[in-house]
């Protein structure tokens, strides 16, 4: 049995939720899919790290360096455990976009090195003309543009799985999209624009069956539901810290050990080497191979505190709470004439990011009116412009909830939408 979230108690942990906006209106924060707010436990953990044991990690022969290293590696273990992974399989990056670029560059770097006679490159990372990379039509730009770049650099072909009118993946022609030519299948777990939760295990199984590497963008899933990276069946999983109550400036990449071991490095320099000579270098084992330069220690400590916070609530309870809010938001929005939901119309296999358009009103104007009511939402194409085009809308308004929201927040938003309709006479 999961214990329901006590939203009133949770809200007391978030200092920012106590403030007002725009002429003393209480803040109604419905933009957690963009970034979540932070509880004082996370803010304090980061601050305490700087107050008590800040030092350069993995070097220095002093006590502070030891403590800082323990804090950093302890955070790695905790965060890896949160997704049922091992610490040595978890790489820290600056954000999820960098995590995905790290993977994409492994392919273009692998191809370039192989072309210049480096036969030590694992053939899975050697990509070229005749090979294909598969994504979906609902990717965030961060899981689309890097692959376009890989294709432009290597001659590989980009393919994508389409989206149907209900915002679900169209899996009918899957065997012609993922085939023997496919070397990469990189898909989003939960769409940041549509809210759709995709059957990633199934897609990863298809990738495995043709010998392709499987990658999952889990930015919108790991903060909101229990995720076991092993069950996903992926080779690599990317997500960010700031959407799961943690600080900005840190992303994660989990990989199967055997895949990380075979992957060429992305950013090179200090800390990621084994030996360095004037004409060549050898590289450290993962995860250090992928963590060049001074790492983001305080941020890792902050994410670990976020994990503690979420673990105390229980991810099953978080998921159940958001499921209720999602159903409520869909129902309330459906009751407003002129509002059209972009994405799955029901709450089955659906996350709490709910995009919509209002007839006769541009999303920017809707967002402005909601802001006037103290409601923070995201407007625009949500870094998923091709997904907007698929639904023939220039942009959407998106509300997205988290552990500190309740149904009254959605009521305020819906009131704001009605006020905007009245004001503009639509």
């Amino acid at each position: 049995m999961t214990k329901p979230l006590d939203v009133a108690r949770i809200r007391r942990d978030f200092p920012i939720l106590q403030r007002t906006v725009r002429d003393d209106r209480p803040l109604v924060y419905l933009d957690s899919a963009a970034t979540s707010q932070k509880p004082f436990q996370v803010i304090d953990a980061e601050s305490d790290y700087y107050r008590s044991c800040n030092a350069a990690v993995h070097r220095g022969a002093h006590q502070l360096a030891e403590e800082a290293t323990d804090a950093y590696e302890g955070a790695r273990a905790k965060i890896a455990g949160f997704v049922h992974g091992r610490p040595e399989d978890l790489v820290f990056t600056k954000n999820a976009t960098e995590s995905l670029n790290l993977v994409a560059y492994a392919f273009s770097n692998g191809a370039a090195k192989a072309q210049h006679g480096d036969d030590a490159i694992d053939p899975r990372f050697v990509i070229g003309p005749g090979d294909s990379i598969v994504v979906t039509q609902m990717e965030h730009h961060a899981n689309l543009v890097p692959w376009q770049e890989v294709c432009a650099k290597t001659g590989a072909t980009l393919r994508w799985i389409g989206v149907d009118d209900d915002g679900r993946l169209d899996l009918r022609d899957l065997s012609t999209i993922i085939d023997e030519s496919t070397k990469v299948v990189s898909v989003v777990h939960q769409s940041n624009l549509l809210g759709t939760i995709n059957p990633v295990s199934e897609l990863m199984a298809h990738a495995r069956a043709v010998g392709a590497l499987g990658i999952v963008d889990a930015c919108q899933s790991i903060p909101h539901m229990p995720v076991d990276v092993n069950e996903l069946g992926a080779d690599l999983v990317a997500w960010s810290g700031h959407k799961m109550l943690g600080p900005t400036g840190i992303g994660m990449l989990w990989g199967r050990p055997e895949v990380l071991e075979a992957m060429p490095p992305f950013i090179t320099g200090g800390s990621m080497i084994e030996t360095v000579f004037m004409d060549h270098s050898t590289y450290a084992a993962p995860p250090k191979r992928f963590e060049a330069g001074t790492p983001m220690v305080a941020q890792a400590v902050g994410v670990a505190a976020a994990v503690d916070y979420l673990d105390a609530l229980g991810m099953d309870a978080v998921e159940a709470h958001e499921h209720v809010l999602t159903g409520y938001a869909l129902e309330q929005l459906r009751n407003v004439p002129g509002v059209r939901i972009i994405g799955p119309q029901d709450d089955h296999a659906r996350g709490s990011a709910v995009s919509f358009v209002v007839d006769g009103l541009h999303p920017h104007d809707v967002g402005q009116f909601l802001d006037d009511h103290g409601v923070a939402v995201r407007v625009g194409h949500h870094c998923a412009w091709p997904t907007c085009r698929r639904f023939d809308v220039p942009a959407t308004t998106r509300l997205s909830t988290y552990i500190y929201n309740d149904t009254s927040d959605i009521d305020v938003a819906v009131d704001g939408i009605r006020a905007a309709q009245k004001f503009f006479g639509v």
Binding site: Q368, F369, G380, W385, C388, F423
Partner: protein
């Protein structure tokens, strides 16, 4: 500061009843500008007649601020001599970057004064400037004026 100060009647009127929203028959220069954060789009076309007067047409889609701004712009600068049109654009750009500290001159800006509230909403300034940036760029492409003018940042 409230939302009514942003959406003045003039803005709503231009949004609902756009002026000058049509392509130009014989455009000498054209510029397509897009606001990548929200997807507002506008294409402005310009031409200059024998008497040195500017002619403007546009197409676009987007929020009320960007589209009303395009309409106000097209209505105001249509038929103006080029140096006057450039001065109007300069004044509008200055107003948008004023953070609300500049009292707009209705003599120069006409309906453009209605955008004074936009300057207090940083996220919307780019919406209001979009068509004016397109106008400037189209003029540059056509070789029509725009020397020593403020850049639409």
């Amino acid at each position: 500061m409230n939302v009514e100060s942003l959406y003045q009647e003039i803005i709503l009127d231009h949004y609902k009843n756009p002026r000058g929203k049509h392509p130009l028959a014989e455009a000498e220069g054209e510029s397509y500008q897009v606001n990548p954060t929200c997807g507002d789009e506008v294409t402005v076309q310009v031409a200059r007649d024998r008497d040195g007067h500017l002619h403007v047409g546009y197409e676009g889609q987007g929020c009320s601020i960007s589209q009303a701004s395009a309409s106000v712009m097209a209505e105001m600068v249509e038929g103006m001599d080029v140096s006057t049109a450039d001065a109007v654009r300069h004044a509008f750009v200055e107003l948008m970057h004023s953070k609300g500290a500049v009292e707009p001159d209705e003599e120069v800006l006409g309906d453009g004064v209605a955008f004074v509230g936009v300057a207090k909403y940083p996220a919307r300034i780019k919406c209001a400037l979009l068509p004016w940036m397109a106008l400037q760029d189209a003029q540059v492409k056509a070789g029509i004026g725009t020397e020593d003018q403020g850049e639409a940042r």
